[in-house]
Amino acid sequence: MVLWNLFVSFIKIGFVSFGGGYAMIPVIQYEVEKHGWLSVQQFTDVIAISGMSPGPIAANAAVFVGYKAGGISGAIIAILAISVPSLIIVLLVSLVFTKVQHQPMIQSAFYGLRPVITGMIIFAAVQFAIQNNLIGIHHFHVTSLLFLFVSLGLLLFTRLHPAFVILLSGIAGIIVYF
């Protein structure tokens, strides 16, 4: 049953995860939470490991979630399920249009789709901030927020690689919290 749920969830994720990379996180998070495979905190750690490892972040996260929920077979099912939709769509696109991105209809759809994706990703950031105790209704965690703003600054204004920023924040975490 777990394997079937993983399969269905990651097929769905594969079909709707526009934008790649961290933009795919909210969609995965929704399914993970629905099935109770991981807590949001655990899922944040999974994203951290996925971001530090080579390879596509979403595919990495799929393997990790699949492994946690259903062992090695869960991991295999998750990675195949998340890859199949893009395989099918890319094949269809190659058959039908050569320059799909210039189709007016597709462009119009993306005119409305992109803002919704933006809203969805901001929502994911808020949700992660709340669930990891960075912010709450009556409080906020000063040290964590400092970590947040410093890493955001590093990501926006330096050419440091995101994987390296994750690593740095881990070292800083050891210095501050250990």
């Binding site: 990495n60 990675i79 929502f123 995101p162 919290y177 250990f178």
Partner: protein
């Protein structure tokens, strides 16, 4: 093309993407220079100019940009079996690495040292997600309508328990309906501008 040479090509496609995969930290855009070298310079499978078109399609369809790009190039080279072998090539190495890391993490997550490191890392993940929102936002929010759509969808996600797929579909539909009213040209110009102006 004979059976033997087709198999050789498929095997070569698989190996090429297998080798690109472990060195692309962060996936997607990070792999573009490596990809260019492997498929346009070393193997001359596609022309350099075509890579931009392939990437544009890879970003348009759902899924990881790296995986989509691999699939697309694999298909162009050797049909469906090429697409499958390229896809498997790009996901195989990271699969084994993540299994290893997942096993390590699940074993050591309660160690105080690991716990402390992750307390520092979690805010950075929030920052990375904000950064993704910012990057997509730059091409998404180009006028008042798209600003409104962004705010409206954020409110829906915050306060209405709804499947993301429905909100995404509504967004796409809204785009088609709004564009039919004749904003299309302005959007295309803005989008091209954002694409060339931004990173």
């Amino acid at each position: 093309m004979g059976e033997g040479s087709k198999f050789t090509l498929i095997w070569k496609v698989f190996l090429t993407f297998l080798k690109i995969s472990p060195i692309t930290f962060g996936g997607g855009y990070a792999m573009i220079p490596l990809l260019e070298k492997a498929i346009a310079e070393k193997n001359r499978w596609v022309k350099k100019g075509e890579i931009a078109d392939i990437l544009a399609v890879a970003q348009t369809v759902p899924g990881s940009i790296a995986v989509n790009t691999a699939t697309f190039i694999g298909y162009r080279l050797a049909g469906i079996s090429g697409a499958i072998s390229a896809t498997l090539g790009i996901i195989a190495p990271t699969f084994f690495m993540i299994i290893l890391l997942a096993a390590l993490f699940l074993g050591f997550q309660h160690e105080p040292l690991v716990h402390a490191a992750f307390l520092g890392i979690r805010p950075t993940i929030v920052a990375l997600i904000l950064l993704a929102a910012f990057k997509i936002g730059k091409t998404a929010v180009i006028d008042k309508t798209t600003l409104f759509l962004t705010a409206a969808s954020l409110l829906v996600f915050l306060f209405v328990p709804v499947q993301p797929i429905f909100v995404l579909l509504c967004g796409a539909l809204a785009g088609i309906i709004l564009q039919a009213k004749g904003k299309s040209k302005q959007f295309v110009e803005n989008y091209e501008h954002a694409k060339t102006g931004g990173k």
